[in-house]
């Protein structure tokens, strides 16, 4: 799958072939009252959101990171500075320093006694990894290792890889040492298994994506969907029971997103699709719900998807044919449009050297993803914010705002002394509603099955969704039935009065 830019935006045309919006329309119509068919939905592990800035600073958003380790550099060098704050965990405080010498490796430990006692969850952190004294020896590829608790006494590793360039700026790591795409734009960085690979069970899946801060309002989530091609050739792809949503994670923070899981699946041919979901009218808070948000989203949903095809164990005959056909179709399509619109425009010039009627037709009729986004935003600014429908737009904006407000705290004074005392002693009782609800949620989410490690939510969320959907469905059915009976009774009464 080739990737390219148009006007500083990353475009991938695979979604145009899959016609995601039509699939969403089908799914919304068929499943709007039925729990979503996520055959093996997984809850992503707790993760930090981090990225490396162009001036080589580690940009970090709060998450459960227990240790940080930095690699052994090519030779002894200096770290410019580090700073970490953990005010919410006793003993609160911060740690910072300069000119640390890299002998072997350097680490900040938040869960052990090496540097700081007690378990700490840092709330802010930056580490400037470039040298105080410029030296070519420090250029090259580096990584930072994040260790997260896996909840059962072990650690899960994540890596942030980056390259220090000759001018001591930093870019995300690539094999060539130069970025394939602009590191600042929202994109799927990579995901596995790769195209053309044959792997064995259990299969390791992972996806790494980056969400630019300016896109936080319109990027709604990252998804990975696994299609078993052997079955999908016989059944409509959108409704196939063999589709597995490995990830359907809403995006609420800018920066790097990473998810990995290992699972056992049947042998055969598979297609894996990783998408960044965009929505001009974004219901990122989910308050409108899957139903209302989904219906509105259909009309402003512009996803960016990338697909990989791979084989687990032994391929099937039909699956291999399906994979080859899909590859040929996409190669053909991308061959027509995998360059910028400006480049395709040249194909419509009969006097130009790149004239081609097929490319010209594509250029004229196939809408450009980036342009569609701009048009939607312009439409919103041009007339959807005007009176009177601007009130609806504003209402929708408020409803879809992901910002949270602290719940009110109630305090009451209670007399604790004898009633006949003129100045009886009192004590203040404080009820922190937000803390109560958060505590309840934490307890519920913290319960884990000791055998397969699944949380309470993993197990029961689908059941709660099913029960709520059933209750809603029954209420509607009862209302429809009751209305009809009521009409019949009224009709009979009316007839009686007449006669």
């Amino acid at each position: 799958m080739r990737k390219f830019y148009i006007a500083d935006s990353y475009i991938d045309n695979s979604n145009m072939v899959s016609n995601k919006n039509i699939q969403l329309l089908f799914i919304a119509l068929v499943f709007f009252l039925i729990p979503q068919g996520q055959a093996e939905a997984q809850t992503p592990q707790t993760k930090a959101v981090y990225s490396i800035s162009s001036d080589c600073r580690l940009v970090y958003a709060p998450g459960v990171v227990e240790n940080l380790e930095f690699p052994m550099p090519p030779q002894t060098a200096e770290i410019y500075e580090y700073h970490a704050e953990y005010p919410n965990t006793a003993p609160g405080g911060s740690a910072s320093g300069y000119q640390l010498i890299w002998y072997d490796w350097f680490g900040l430990f938040f869960g052990q006694e090496t540097y700081y006692s007690g378990g700490h969850t840092p709330t802010t952190m930056y580490v400037n990894v470039s040298e105080r004294q410029p030296s070519p020896a420090n250029n090259g590829d580096w990584w930072i290792n994040f260790k997260h608790s896996d909840g059962v006494g072990g650690y899960v590793d994540e890596y942030l890889e980056y390259t220090i360039l000759g001018d001591h700026s930093c870019v995300p790591y690539t094999n060539t040492g130069t970025p394939e795409v602009d590191p600042t734009i929202t994109r799927i960085i990579d995901f596995n298994p790769q195209t053309g690979t044959t792997t064995q069970n259990p299969v390791f899946f992972d996806v790494e994506a980056y969400v630019a801060p300016e896109d936080l309002g319109t990027v709604t989530g990252v998804t990975i969907t696994l299609h078993n091609i052997d079955q999908n050739v016989l059944i409509l792809g959108a409704l196939s029971p063999s589709d597995i949503w490995l990830v359907d994670e809403p995006i609420t923070q800018a920066g790097n997103f990473y998810f990995s899981t290992t699972t056992t699946i049947g042998e055969g041919n598979y297609r894996l699709e990783a998408c960044i979901e965009r929505n001009v009218f974004n219901d990122s808070s989910g308050i409108l719900g899957d139903w209302a948000g989904g219906i509105i989203g259909i009309f402003s949903d512009i996803d960016t998807c990338v697909s990989h095809q791979f084989i687990v164990g032994q391929p099937s005959y039909i699956g291999t044919i399906s994979q080859n056909l899909w590859s040929d179709t996409n190669d053909f399509y991308n061959g027509l449009s995998a360059t910028s619109s400006e480049a395709l425009a040249g194909s419509c010039n009969p006097l130009g050297g790149s004239f081609g009627i097929r490319e010209c037709i594509v250029f004229m009729f196939v809408p450009d993803n980036n342009q569609l986004q701009l048009t939607m935003q312009e439409a919103r600014e041009a007339f959807l914010t005007r009176i009177p429908w601007g009130y609806f737009t504003r209402t929708y904006s408020i409803l879809s705002n992901p910002a949270t407000s602290s719940l009110p705290v109630f305090t009451t004074n209670i007399q604790i002394g004898p009633g006949n005392n003129e100045t009886p002693p009192t004590t203040a009782l404080t009820f922190d509603v937000g803390d109560m609800i958060a505590g309840g949620g934490a307890i519920v989410d913290g319960i884990r099955d000791p055998i397969n490690g699944k949380s309470f939510r993993d197990v029961f969320e689908i059941m709660v969704q099913g029960l709520v959907a059933l209750a809603v469905l029954l209420t509607i059915v009862a209302d429809v039935g009751g209305t009809h009976r009521h009409s019949e009774v009224s009709e009979k009464r009316g007839n009686n009065r007449v006669t």
């Binding site: 619109s341 407000s405 709520v468």
Partner: protein
């Protein structure tokens, strides 16, 4: 190109027609009641609750679906009367 052009013309056309209308920045304040502020605060409360405790979020979604049904029913009755 042509599809984009049509869409842009449509947006331009609609933008031109309605450009005289004032732009809505916030919801109005009626008899001292700041609807925008209270609604923002209320939605923030809901977001806090639903983020902290997911079953409530699912129940609220079900409630919205039910309200959507009654809204559709009400609209149908308004337009179709007793034939609905």
């Amino acid at each position: 190109m042509i599809v984009n052009l049509f869409l842009n013309i449509l947006v331009l056309f609609l933008g031109g027609i309605f450009s005289w209308l004032p732009q809505v920045e916030t919801l109005p304040t009626i008899v001292g009641f700041d609807i925008d502020a209270y609604m923002t605060l209320g939605v923030g409360y809901l977001a806090t609750v639903f983020t902290s405790f997911w079953p409530l979020g699912i129940m609220f979604q079900g409630f919205l679906v039910l309200m959507g049904y009654f809204l559709v029913k009400m609209v149908l009755r308004f337009f179709l009367g007793s034939r609905a």
